[in-house]
């Protein structure tokens, strides 16, 4: 028997470290659902939103409950740790898990989870963008700071190896505890070094803290600060004027020039009165793609959805063409790179300007 | 039962610069009751703390029946037969008087506290407790939470808890302080009865009582022994009179 509705378990962070992200993602998803008349396979779409407090345990707990109540898929989570935890649950229960924000490379890997798909960026591709940027910008000496966390440590190792291959010298690296609240000593060391580039492999609160404190000594005046996920409009607003001139990878941007994006941004602004954040954009993009594929199967068989999605390509995604790689369930896509600038109304006062668009070929390893 | 012999050699206890006990040596002979007197702050309680393990010694040794117990922890001294009461009452608040006493009996009867049977299944413990309850005159208050007792009744419970470990050497720190006028005779009687067959060290400021019950008296002043001897000898000692008793005593 067909279920009464298409029930999605939406596990996002509405509180905790990433609490601010959940709301935007939810808005993106709700717009995507509204765009298709609220239905898929002829049944109404129902999303149960749950707050994982940016912690894996509640994420699993709440997802378990929703799946027990008959949810057909999971959408989320935000933090990579939560997502990784949800993966084993999804495999266990054989329900699809759609990821549109968590960036840890481990989430999509060859022979990884059959049921997990990611339509958004990986940290790996963002680190490649950082490398591409260092190359394009002609940086010679780089001082780095990275969070003492597996994914950023791995990312840094890769960055350092590749950079040294390109003849870029790494003059220093500090691993700061996650959630560090004082970077002044590290900033001082950086200021005293002869580096021309500062690679900042931290994100969220730590990124804001770093940039606020480096701003107090004017580090950005003499050196270029950049990082894979260092800034977006939300974080820049938290940093203030010191953010101007900082380069960062951008997951999605409302200024990206594509027909689909123009329509989306207009609709989003009309509905919510603000520009869509990268979280809203990625969420909208991912869920629209997924629902279209589900619709096309004309079936309620989850295995059919998974097979179909693994082989799909989206020509008209917000960021142009995206290809789902059957080998690791990661969507290959372009990489956006930008700089924080002062924006004119109606843009936010600090807004990202896209400076580079890197091609997927440069950002993804081939996989078989 | 016979009382144990307690001996201390050059005991010293210092708190910062203050020498509360400054080299006390004394041998307490078995089966005798010693009254320990001296001005306030002379170091009587501290000496007792040194004997029972509640003070850290900066020098000296304590022997119980020729066994060196200087480094023994408090509970082990109790098990070795050394009991004491405190000047500042220490009872188990939140429990009834009877429960207080039962705990004393459990501690005394069991080296490892049984965890496989409910506490109610130990009739002998209850008997022990009830016996002491009677002795210290608290029978009518058996089920009163101990912290609700009046001051004098708490003092009685304090002494009762000490008796349960059936010590061979008994250290009593002002057991009669706070005991009512009406009960004094009874309390002295109790002391006389329980001391039989034990070695007792009694601190007390009520001279009538001390002189009446002690076999010998030890006088402490400023952390040191000033005099010792029979009650009459001590009473007659001029140094003791001027330091402690006052002329009209």
């Amino acid at each position: 028997a067909e279920p009464a509705d298409f029930h999605i378990a939406g596990i996002l962070a509405f509180s905790g470290a990433y609490g601010i992200i959940g709301k935007d993602m939810r808005q993106g998803v709700e717009l995507a659902i509204a765009d298709r008349g609220g239905k898929v396979l002829g049944k109404p779409i129902r999303v149960s939103w749950e707050d994982d407090e940016t912690k894996p345990q509640p994420a699993v707990q709440k997802a378990t409950r929703l799946l027990a109540g008959g949810a057909q898929m999971i959408f989320g989570a935000v933090g990579s740790a939560s997502t990784l935890a949800l993966q084993s649950l999804a495999d266990q229960r054989k329900v699809p898990l759609l990821v549109t924000i968590s960036a840890d490379d481990k989430i999509t890997r060859v022979n990884g989870s059959r049921y997990t798909f990611r339509t958004s960026n990986t940290l790996g591709m963002e680190i490649r963008m950082s490398l591409e940027f260092a190359k394009v910008r002609g940086l010679k000496k780089i001082y780095g700071v990275a969070a003492d966390y597996q994914a950023t440590r791995d990312g840094w190792t890769m960055f350092q190896t590749e950079a040294e291959k390109l003849g870029i010298a790494i003059v220093g690296i500090d691993f700061a505890p996650l959630g560090n609240r004082d970077f002044s000593v590290i900033v001082d060391k950086m200021a005293k070094s002869d580096a021309d580039g500062i690679a900042v492999f931290v994100t969220g609160n730590d990124a804001v803290t770093f940039l606020k404190q480096s701003g107090q000594v004017g580090l950005g005046r003499t050196k270029v600060q950049f990082g894979p996920v260092l800034q977006d409009e939300t974080l820049a607003a938290a940093v203030g004027p010191a953010a101007v001139g900082v380069y960062s990878g951008v997951r999605y941007h409302f200024s990206y020039d594509s027909p689909a994006n123009k329509t989306f941004v207009a609709a989003y602004r009309a509905k919510y009165g603000e520009f869509p954040s990268s979280f809203a954009g990625e969420a909208y993009d991912g869920i629209s793609w997924w629902l279209d594929v589900v619709e096309a199967t004309k079936s309620w068989d989850r295995e059919r959805w998974v097979d179909a999605f693994a082989a799909s390509t989206r020509e008209n995604s917000l960021e142009g063409r995206k290809t789902m790689r059957a080998c690791d369930h990661q969507a290959a896509q372009v990489g956006l790179w930008g700089v924080v600038t002062e924006g004119q109304a109606p843009l936010p006062p600090l807004t990202m300007k896209i400076t580079n668009v890197f091609e997927p070929a440069n950002l993804f390893d081939t996989c078989s | 039962m016979t009382g144990g012999a307690l001996r201390c050699e050059d005991i010293q206890v210092a708190f910062g610069g203050l020498k509360a006990v400054a080299g006390v040596s004394f041998a307490f002979e078995p089966n005798r009751l010693y009254g320990l007197i001296g001005p306030n702050g002379a170091g009587k309680t501290t000496l007792m703390n040194a004997l029972s393990g509640h003070a850290t010694l900066s020098g000296g040794k304590v022997f119980l029946d020729d066994r060196d117990i200087t480094r023994l922890p408090i509970h082990a001294r109790t098990r070795a037969g050394l009991g004491r009461s405190f000047q500042i009452t220490k009872i188990f608040a939140g429990m009834t008087v009877l429960e207080n006493l039962e705990l004393g009996a459990f501690a005394h009867r069991h080296r490892v506290q049984p965890f496989w049977l409910p506490a109610g299944r130990f009739p002998r413990v209850r008997e022990d407790a009830e016996k002491v309850l009677e002795q210290v005159g608290l029978a009518s208050l058996a089920h009163m939470p101990a912290e609700n007792l009046s001051h004098g009744d708490q003092r009685a419970l304090e002494v009762g808890l000490t008796l349960l470990s059936d010590p061979r050497v008994l250290l009593l720190d002002e057991p009669l302080a706070g005991v009512g006028h009406d009960r004094l005779e009874q309390a002295i009687g109790l002391i006389r009865r329980v001391v039989a067959g034990r070695t007792v060290l009694l601190i007390e400021h009520n001279m009538d009582v001390v002189m009446q019950v002690s076999d010998a008296i030890v006088v402490m002043v400023q952390g040191q022994l000033l005099a010792s001897g029979s009650p009459d000898q001590v009473k007659a000692n001029p140094a003791v009179r001027s330091a402690y008793l006052g002329e009209d005593a």
Binding site: E50, K55, P56, Q57, V60, Q61, T64, R65, A68, G69, A81, L84, A85, Q87, S88, L89, Q92, K106, D148, Y149, Q150, P177, L178 | S52, H54, P73, I74, H75, A76, T78, R79, R84, F86, K90, I91, F92, A93, G94, M95, E99, E102, L103, G104, F106, A107, H108, H110, Q113, P114, F115, W116, P118, A119, G120, F122, V125, E147, L161, L164, S165
Partner: protein
């Protein structure tokens, strides 16, 4: 114990039993999950209260014991290839062993300083687990795929079967604890809380008793941690974070410390409130806070106090 408080105990037991058996009637998977959580945290809280409510030792290090159990089960099963039951026993042992190590340091002090030292030691363990011991713990990302039992040919990956398993473990744990608390050992712990100097003086080996209690409590925490990891199929150092210790403390206080069933009640109310409030309103967080505040002011000895005729005897000021 007065008649009315015995009646109160009975009512409380009935309430808890009713709550635990709800899934049998409702057949809803959601309540199944909720009750499973209550059983596991209930076991944790019951163990916690042995030292907190009885011996008066407020440990802020129980998160580490909880986590140690979880990791012990995970590693013993996935790396050492042990079966579930031996691994669960291993988890209990790990909790006790870790408690032993903590106790060597933390029991040198008492009162508030014990709390603070256990907090510091557990935080140290948390930091180590989340940074330096990544190879074993999976770092902050944790380890997914914690297994469940394979016994008597039953499918414990089925939540209902696992729930029955949890009931058995919980009841055994509860019964053992009931005996411990009523035994002279339990009385001695109460005595230590009431007056440690006196307890020592009448001949209780206070340090040893405290250490034993701490280790038993650690074993409960270890088993509970292992069961939680298994229920979630997931474990991370987050389990070792001091907030986990805070949670179990809050639950115990809410339910009523110093009683056998109070902590379980606290766990149940806490989990139910979280679950239900978050479905009703976005502002559940604040409402939960208000409820805590009101409970503190209005219920002097926790929710269990509603059932008891008078203050629990061990609950000394």
């Amino acid at each position: 114990m007065t008649i009315s408080s015995r009646l109160g105990q009975l009512i409380m037991a009935a309430v808890i039993a009713g709550m635990i058996l709800v899934p049998l009637i409702s057949r809803s998977e959601e309540s199944l999950n909720l009750v499973s959580l209550i059983l596991i945290w209930g076991l944790f809280a019951v163990g916690f209260d042995l030292i907190f409510g009885l011996a008066g030792m407020l440990s802020f290090g129980h998160a580490a014991l909880f986590g140690a159990g979880g990791y012990a089960l995970t590693l013993l099963m996935t790396k050492a290839g042990l079966g579930f039951m031996p691994a669960l026993a291993g988890a209990g042992l790990a909790g006790a062993a870790f408690a032993f190590v903590l106790s060597i340091l933390a029991l040198r002090v008492s009162g508030l300083f014990f709390s603070l030292l256990t907090l510091a030691l557990a935080q140290l363990a948390y930091i180590l687990a989340s940074t330096k011991l990544r190879a074993f713990t999976g770092g902050l990302d944790g380890l997914p795929g914690v297994p469940r039992p394979e016994l008597f040919g039953l499918d414990f990956y089925d939540n209902r079967t696992f729930y029955y398993f949890l009931i058995v473990v919980f009841l055994v744990g509860l019964a053992v604890m009931a005996l411990l608390r009523a035994s002279p050992f339990g009385k001695a712990l109460r005595a230590i809380q009431a007056n440690a100097v006196r307890a020592d003086q009448i001949g209780f080996n206070v340090q040893r008793l405290r250490q034993c209690a701490f280790m038993i409590s650690g074993a409960y925490a270890g088993v509970a941690g292992a069961l939680l990891a298994s229920l979630m199929f997931y474990i991370s150092p987050q389990m070792l974070h001091w907030t986990t210790s805070g949670d179990v403390l809050i639950m115990t206080l809410l339910g009523g410390k110093g009683t056998l069933l109070g902590p379980v009640l606290g766990v149940a109310v806490f989990e139910l409130l979280k679950e239900e409030l978050s479905q009703i309103t976005q502002h559940w967080y604040g409402i939960l806070g208000l409820i805590f505040i009101l409970c503190t002011i209005l219920l002097p000895s926790g929710i269990a106090g509603l059932f008891a005729g008078r203050r629990d005897k061990g609950d000394a000021r």
